[in-house]
Symmetry: C2
């Protein structure tokens, strides 16, 4: 038996019963007409959540990191110049992927715990007018920082670049407007603010990104991630669904339910719910003299980084919460390892009473 | 609501209730000690099913085709000479992946519906003594053919090559002995003879394959598939589980249960069950004057290809089975499209009464 956990880490978040029930429906074929309807529903609601009309919008059959890989391998060719903004673990992962592709990588680096600085990006674009792609993380899961995706994208588009944005910890939890903000490739994960089971990567490609992918000089290096092969399977309204791979049918049943819950709630209401819950958490933690290293205006509502007081044992507190209360919080990652915790209030957990619940538990576990 | 289907196509097969119930257990974190125990169980039982003691044995977080991609991107470097045996769709996919890597690909081709010819492989190896890797499909899902993996691997090993084998439709349904047969990289899918939900790729790497992957001159082109990064997360008995990506926690609950069912049954008994069911199906179909294009000694028990009689409408029969009886059978793929069906008796469906059930239904639907 798997124990029930209250999941206040950086994801997965708690999955609502309705989503788990959808998950456990009987498996059917990946080309069954009933399953094609499921995919149509998923694509339609995912467009709503991304606020996009991009035809090529679908859910990849693997975790969010495959969304990152697919974003780059489709739109970046060997030798392309790519500017990657790094202010945490996941910008660093983008760099690793681009180096494997053989891209020329320019990094724009900001301190962990601060957002990407638009002026630094602007300078990098001026110094590198031949840049093809700009990439950044909208919501850094390693640091709890929200960067200004709209401003960063506007700078990149003015310079004629494609824009890739990681929204793993922002989709449906933080304001995100793919079309209005001119984001070209945007990917996310299932297990954060959507409160779906882990293992799926929502993704969307603008027509400009698809044009780049379809007119490459070299083949996309990954067969699994090649959007030229994937799009014909996922596209709704197409007469022919070209088989590419066997989709994770049950996980997509769950994703349909999770997306339906998000769309029924409405995005602005859902964003506000995440903000309200986070503000309650911040208030409670600061009232207990805990320090939040990210400046208020850049804090990411779904994920809060808390400095660990110097007299407190990181692992012992996390262990105590898990073993005595069945509560998970996140350890620090990278430069924050050992000196910060990460507390998620995502999806189903983004509620004021849940914020009070985890604040009470954490504060008591310190005493 | 998703309708119940009897799944007699090329996979997914019907998933037992115990596996669906395991799937829908509450989501927990991917670094939770309880989840690490789940992974340990999965790895142990997967080694049993592969008949291997390879330390690097795990379940990739994506469908079988990522297993294929991971096998090649880790062990093949640009310029490496690779012999790929092609006797159906999936050998062709291997070729596409290797071309994307920049390998020098030599193909050994056999007719669809026949196995890989060991003599042709032997000739190719003699003509190309600098070959680094030999790859073939043990059980071709597009043609219902079983190739002689043991003999093919012996030829390749004698020539000093690494051996990659696709066992998507054979793992736990057809005799497969990874260590005894000297297979270096072997991958499969969750949704065939294991009767787990689709979306996972069991995989195992021999020490020689790991050595090749860790001593490459170039980086593995895929971050997601890089076994140098993946192995530390999955390895049992390691004191530190290095986070790589968020595992599909619920699907791995299901996989643990599916593997447990296979190990409890015992592999020889499970192989025999698949053979017995298939022999019943073949007997029934041939008694109804239906033609099976694959020679008896090369037929794949889990998947039978049936020629469509010339006076019968392919799509109409499949549509009637689906709409009136909620039964799925598979259409022909590639060269078999329109002139053959594919009937799977995999995992939970590999039983004589299930063979009779689908034979009755198919024969009646022709009348």
């Amino acid at each position: 038996m798997i124990p029930y956990r209250d999941l206040f880490g950086p994801g997965p978040s708690n999955v609502p019963d309705a989503v788990l029930i959808a998950l456990a429906q009987p498996t059917i074929g990946h080309l069954d007409p009933v399953f094609l309807e499921v995919m149509d529903d998923v694509v339609a609601d995912l467009r709503t959540c991304f606020m996009t009309e991009n035809p090529v919008t679908f859910v990849m059959s693997a975790p969010g990191s495959i969304g990152m890989e697919a974003s780059f391998v489709n739109t970046v060719e060997p030798g392309d110049k790519v500017i990657i903004c790094i202010n945490g673990v996941f910008g660093g992962r983008m760099q690793s992927i681009c180096e494997r592709i053989g891209a020329e990588v320019i990094t724009v680096e900001d301190e962990w715990g601060t957002p990407v600085d638009p002026e630094k990006l602007s300078d990098a674009l001026k110094a590198n007018p031949d840049t093809a792609v700009v990439a950044f993380v909208h919501a850094e899961t390693s640091t709890g920082v929200r960067s200004d995706a709209k401003t960063l994208a506007a700078l990149a588009k003015d310079a004629g670049c494609l824009v890739i944005a990681d929204t793993v910890t922002s989709l449906s939890g933080v304001e995100l407007r793919v079309d209005e903000w001119q984001l070209d490739v945007v990917y996310s994960g299932s297990q954060k603010c959507l409160s779906c089971v882990p293992g799926l990567a929502p993704i969307t490609f603008s027509p400009a990104a698809i044009e780049k992918a379809s007119q490459r000089k070299s083949q996309v290096p990954s067969w699994f991630c090649d959007t030229n092969l994937l799009a014909p399977y996922y596209m709704d309204g197409e007469s022919k669904r070209a088989y590419h791979h066997t989709a994770p049918v049950n996980s997509l049943f769950a994703m349909r339910e999770a997306l339906r819950l998000a769309v029924d709630e409405g995005l602005p209401a859902r964003w506000a719910r995440h903000t309200n819950a986070a503000e309650q958490l911040w208030k409670r933690l600061e009232a207990a003299d805990l320090s939040l290293p990210v400046a208020l205006e850049h804090r990411l509502a779904p994920l809060t980084v808390v400095s660990i007081p110097s007299n407190v044992n990181d692992a012992a507190v996390r262990e105590r919460l898990l073993q005595t209360r069945s509560i998970e919080i996140g350890a620090g990652l990278g430069k924050f390892a050992g000196n910060a915790w990460r507390i998620g209030l995502m999806g189903a957990n983004a509620a004021i009473e849940r914020a009070d619940f985890i604040a009470d538990a954490l504060i008591e576990s310190l005493g």
